[in-house]
């Protein structure tokens, strides 16, 4: 090898060195080894749609609950975490992002990276797992992180109780024709309120490396107040701030699990 190099140097034939150098430059300059890495992930995106009783809904629209109370949702925010896809071997591939959905803003999306492959189930957590919920200082996150002081957008409760997982807020009236001034304020949180939403897919989805795969999730906000096994009377129970794990907050979170559907 040394002989080979020496002979080239003696002959002032520098071309090999120049080519090696150029190759080094290219390799060093490229921070993403996209063409060499077989494990480069694809992106899985779930676009969310807000509905009320199966119809498109926007916050601020007046509607009715299941007991015919005029109602208007003004705020709906929700932490989504631990997004995971189950591959054909039965193993769950987990994303590592936390998302704060704010339905005051159009086109809320849940986006995470997954290894290429076929997947036959989807799951995600509503709320935050205990290890990142309480006793973590929001100030330790950069300001654009959804758990930061600014990024949490009013969803931070206290150091002891952690974050509000879901805010479902609005106004209602006792009867049709009355002004909507009665406050509706459901804040669900604490570790006991964490819920997991899972779907078995009839048709597997494929994640391709460096490609975007999308699906649509529907959140029917009316189902937060009535489900197959439970219902909420907003006049009797207009408020919960279950920082101590009240049963109303738990019931609401259970109802919310069934408020999600995949399209």
């Amino acid at each position: 090898m040394m002989k080979y190099l020496s002979s080239h140097i003696e002959k002032r034939n520098l071309a090999p060195f120049v080519w090696i150098g150029l190759l080094m430059v290219i390799l060093a300059g490229c921070s993403r080894w996209v063409w060499m890495d077989n494990d480069v992930p694809g992106t899985f995106r779930m676009d969310t749609v807000l509905e009320w009783e199966g119809q498109p809904y926007s916050l601020g629209m007046e509607t009715e609950d299941h007991m015919n109370h005029p109602l208007r949702l003004d705020n709906l925010q929700m932490y989504i975490s631990e997004v995971a896809l189950r591959n054909e071997q039965g193993d769950w591939e987990k994303g590592d992002k936390v998302h704060l959905l704010d339905f005051n803003v159009q086109n809320q999306r849940i986006l995470d990276a997954f290894p290429p492959g076929m997947y036959n189930a989807i799951r995600f957590g509503m709320g935050l797992p205990s290890e990142i919920n309480a006793d973590i200082d929001p100030a330790s996150y950069p300001n654009d992180h959804p758990l930061s002081v600014v990024g949490s957008a009013g969803m931070f409760w206290t150091w002891a109780s952690g974050y509000v997982f879901v805010k479902y807020e609005g106004k209602y009236a006792l009867q049709a024709g009355e002004q909507l001034i009665e406050p509706l304020s459901y804040h669900c949180g604490t570790d006991d309120s964490f819920r997991t939403v899972t779907w078995e897919l009839e048709q597997s989805i494929q994640i391709r490396r460096q490609n975007l795969t999308t699906t649509e999730l529907v959140f029917d906000a009316s189902k937060v107040l009535i489900g197959e096994a439970d219902s909420i009377d907003i006049v009797l129970d207009p408020v919960t701030h279950n920082s101590e794990g009240t049963t109303l907050g738990g019931r609401l979170m259970d109802l919310m699990v069934d408020a999600w559907t995949i399209r």
Partner: protein
């Protein structure tokens, strides 16, 4: 001098390695500043982020420099920036009042009065919008407005710049701009950038509460009880799930990041009609934003009377009484003001404890800091 082939190869490899490093290193070219207004020869300002505070996002095109902050302080206190040279920014933002105005409404150079109380200038580097209605998204954008506003300093920016450019005083503004921004040509953009740099240094983080958080002192029993009250949910748990008979202050005045503001906008139940001042709705155009105003910080709140966007309350006792009453119902009143029919029902003792805690947020060192006072 002739080079041997060996030397040439060594040089080639050295150059290639250097090139490799430069291209491969993502951070090699990380600039101290970006944009035409940056002066790479200015001295970076050593901004210290206090314990428990979040990082401060400083615009890349306006990094803090010693020269810029100094210039900003001169300009903040510069009366030349008003039509009759009688008012500076500091004329309505008194340091001893937490950089706010003790008058309900500030009076401009023409004698006209505003319609809102001058906000306290505290920890602005962490704010995400400015003015009570959030109509400015950046600090620089906010600073542009009072100088030319007819009810405030009433000086068109063209005249303001002419005055600064022609300055023959000891300050010598063209020279100050040259030091800060590398140019002696003064513009409105550079002027607000300098003031913004100064305002970002107005950091209050040494109240008794801060000292207690750092383990340097103790709160009194009343202060601590007030702090606990501050952090507890309001309402009777028998009738309000999650209720804790608390003050329910922390939702909007969150202690996250120790800023005591959620940076959001709320209708806190002051009025049932918003004809006279629509608040955020005047900016967003959304009816559902009617009566919403920015949550102010509670730092130095004991110094920054009067209170609310229109300065209607003269004392903190009145403020606490308002929240204790539950406020006025309306179609946009915040859900946090959920006890509109009965209020928080805090006892006189509890209210006094809450008040004691709010006084523990006073940072005397901040309001009297020499580096923030009028240098002229």
């Amino acid at each position: 001098m002739d080079k041997t082939p060996y030397t040439s190869v060594k040089e080639s490899i050295t150059w290639l390695l250097l090139l490799t490093c430069l291209i491969g290193c993502d951070r090699c070219q990380e600039p101290n500043c970006e944009g035409p207004d940056c002066n790479p020869t200015a001295t970076p300002y050593p901004l210290e982020i206090p314990p428990f505070f979040p990082p401060m996002d400083i615009p890349a095109d306006n990094p803090l420099t010693e020269e810029g902050v100094h210039l900003g302080r001169l300009l903040f206190w510069e009366k030349t920036l008003s039509l009759d040279e009688s008012l500076s920014c500091g004329s309505c933002h008194f340091p001893l009042h937490g950089f706010s105005d003790p008058a309900q409404y500030s009076t401009g150079v023409t004698g006209a009065q505003g319609t809102r109380n001058a906000m306290a200038l505290i920890n602005l580097g962490w704010a995400t919008s400015y003015f009570w209605d959030g109509r400015a998204i950046t600090l620089e954008e906010q600073i542009l407005q009072p100088v030319a506003h007819p009810d405030e300093m009433a000086l068109p920016w063209t005249q303001a710049i002419s005055r600064l450019q022609a300055d023959a005083s000891e300050v010598n503004y063209p020279e100050q701009f040259l030091k800060a921004f590398g140019t002696s040509t003064i513009t409105p953009e550079l002027t607000v950038k300098a003031i913004a740099q100064f305002l970002r240094t107005l950091i209050s983080a040494d109240s008794k509460f801060d000292q207690w958080r750092r383990g340097e002192t103790n709160l009194t029993d009343d202060e601590f009880a007030g702090y606990e009250m501050f952090l507890r949910e309001g309402g009777d748990p028998e009738t309000t799930p999650g209720g804790q008979f608390g003050g329910d202050c922390f939702h909007c005045h969150t202690e996250a990041g120790l800023q005591f503001s959620d940076y959001l906008f709320h209708n806190n139940g002051l009025d049932s009609s918003f004809v006279s001042d629509a608040g955020l709705a005047g900016v967003s155009g959304a009816v559902l934003d009617s009566g919403k105003f920015k949550t102010p910080t509670l730092r130095n709140v004991a110094l920054s009377a009067p209170y609310m966007h229109d300065g209607r309350f003269q004392t903190l006792e009145e403020v606490i009484d308002h929240y204790n009453s539950g406020g006025v119902p309306s179609s946009t009143v915040d859900p946090f003001m959920k006890y509109t029919t009965g209020g928080l029902e805090l006892s006189p003792v509890q209210k006094a404890q809450l008040l004691a805690f709010l006084h523990a947020l006073t940072d005397s060192a901040f309001v009297s800091a020499p580096q923030f006072q009028d240098p002229h």
